[in-house]
Symmetry: C2
Subunit: 337 residues, 2 copies
């Protein structure tokens, strides 16, 4: 069942059916009604591939996300969900593309074979060849994250530097003098992940400003690693009274480590960081944290991409977000020890 069949049954030509559907040329009410009736009767829908071939747009956007090998964090899930939902509102479908080790292959599929009109990139690195590559090609894309040279690019990012610094100031204001930083896994830091780098920067600078004694750690994205990391922290400096973390997935393990060391949160030890709000609330006591507005970021990314697709020659745009710290129950004044 194709457009020719509809045309035949309605007693008109294929082009007339096409115009009746698209409205790009006037069609008399009579014929339009007749065509619509046949379409409803047969439940006809135009073939997406044929349409994409003819007018050069697939009405699909690609979402390039990290490989499953690493554990997913809740934040990534929220990104995916909100991107899909926002795209649906614009009548775009979302094609998932794992950007694994051989990111070239996946990229070739998306771009070279023209499967998508534009792309949204997650898990950005400070020096990101994917971003550079797309920029060179002039291919419409929006990054969720910000490279070291974001000027002139399209992105929506989180001000990790400021957020980590805010966490440090929060702890310093409470009187903490010896604190630790729990980062994402070392492998990601070495790969240049922007959140890991900027977060670390913000933490280090703010701590220096306040004259704090600090230690920084990398930690795997799971509970067991979090627990192990906390043991190292207390082993390296038992006088530590607080920590800042970017590592959502390790949070449960950090709490467990504290409980087993007999440190009560927040009486003996304060915990804070940058974490999606929904996850900050699952731990007890609930985490005082800068809540990552993942859903808002996903929506923004789609809005920007659609704008870029609709106005290819418009100026580049971006959003830099810096949500405030939500005070919950995991931080408190440093005890005189």
């Amino acid at each position: 069942m194709n457009i020719g069949e509809i045309a035949r049954r309605a007693g008109v030509s294929r082009s007339t059916v096409s115009y009746a559907l698209s409205g790009k040329r006037p069609v008399s009410d009579d014929t339009r009604r007749k065509i619509q009736q046949v379409i409803d009767e047969l439940g006809y829908r135009p073939n997406a591939s044929a349409r994409a071939l003819a007018n050069g747009r697939t009405n699909t956007i690609g979402l390039v996300f990290p490989p499953a090998g690493n554990h997913y964090t809740g934040m990534q899930l929220d990104f995916i969900g909100s991107v899909v939902e926002a795209a649906a509102a614009y009548d775009y479908d979302v094609l998932l593309s794992p950007s694994g080790v051989d990111s070239d292959r996946s990229f070739q599929r998306l771009l070279g074979e023209r499967r998508v009109d534009g792309a949204i990139l997650m898990e950005i690195r400070l020096e990101d060849d994917r971003v550079d590559h797309l920029a060179e090609l002039g291919f419409p894309s929006v990054a969720i994250g910000r490279t070291a040279h974001p000027e002139g690019g399209w992105w929506v990012g989180l001000d990790h530097t400021a957020l980590a610094a805010a966490c440090v100031h929060h702890l310093a204001d409470l009187g903490h003098r010896r604190i630790a930083f729990v980062n994402r896994p070392e492998q990601l830091l070495r790969a240049g992940y922007e959140s890991a780098h900027r977060g670390l920067d913000g933490f280090t600078k703010a701590a220096a400003e306040r004259g704090l004694t600090v230690r920084t750690y990398c930690c795997g994205d799971d509970a067991a690693s979090g627990q192990a990391c906390l043991e190292r922290i207390l082993h390296d400096d038992p006088a530590t009274t607080g920590l800042v973390t970017l590592n959502e997935a390790a949070l449960g393990g950090l709490y467990r480590g504290l409980a087993q060391a007999g440190r009560h949160v927040p009486r003996d030890f304060s915990v804070t960081g940058v974490v999606a709000g929904r996850w900050a609330e699952t731990v007890t006591p609930q985490l005082t944290a800068a809540d990552v507005p993942a859903e808002e970021m996903g929506r923004h990314a789609v809005d920007l991409l659609v704008e870029r697709l609709d106005h290819p020659d418009g100026p580049s745009r971006h959003h830099l977000l810096a949500p405030p710290i939500s005070l919950r129950a995991s931080t408190g004044p440093a005890t005189a020890s």
Copy 2:
């Protein structure tokens, strides 16, 4: 840059280029080399829409997942990740389709417009019109979950009945006599979600078998609801000493409620349920639970779908999984009270 351009530069016809690429007819080594050289030079890749139009296959599978309105659980994330990864291994892309309120619209896009060759459905209901609809159409699809009448269908499911029963027996063996069941939200139960129904069934029957006193609850998919639910449980029957849950997202809240009621896990109260292993380990004490093998299920679903696509006339297949309970630290003998 298209196949005609390649043909021109290589001094051959378009069909020869096509055959050189597909290998469906012999091409002399000389011409093949010449063609390959031009292709490499120009970085040519065949247009996916054109190819899909010509041979009737998109090399894309649709993943129909629940709308973002409800919170996602970690399990769903694991499904998505493993499906994408498994599909990539077969050279399939994955198109995400939110099956929201107007699931018809999204379905029409996927099927009517022929965007995908097959589909994987998540969040199955006992009476699921999507499954029925696809079965009527003979459209290749695989369900992650099992309807009330799974005979002759393609699916990969979890034996929630058996798993919930196993949890009850585990608690009963430890001497618990009064236990509660914490289900998914009431809205989902009413909608007929299979895990909620079968889990409840398994719990109820096993409890009756063991002569236990039980209460069952529905609980929202977030920590606050979990905490509230636990308060209700202890209010309704303070002598309750254990619970079984399917609700991953509420788990943190349940623990918090217990802590605030002064019940120590596992000394005063035992907690168990059916939860993805990775999340069972984030809480303290770690949850004794039947670990949902989400990644394995996603892989199986893709395997089945690809088999169905390759052999449209083969007999239907399915996998019913029933992972054992992993003993961790959240259950213990009932205290004589």
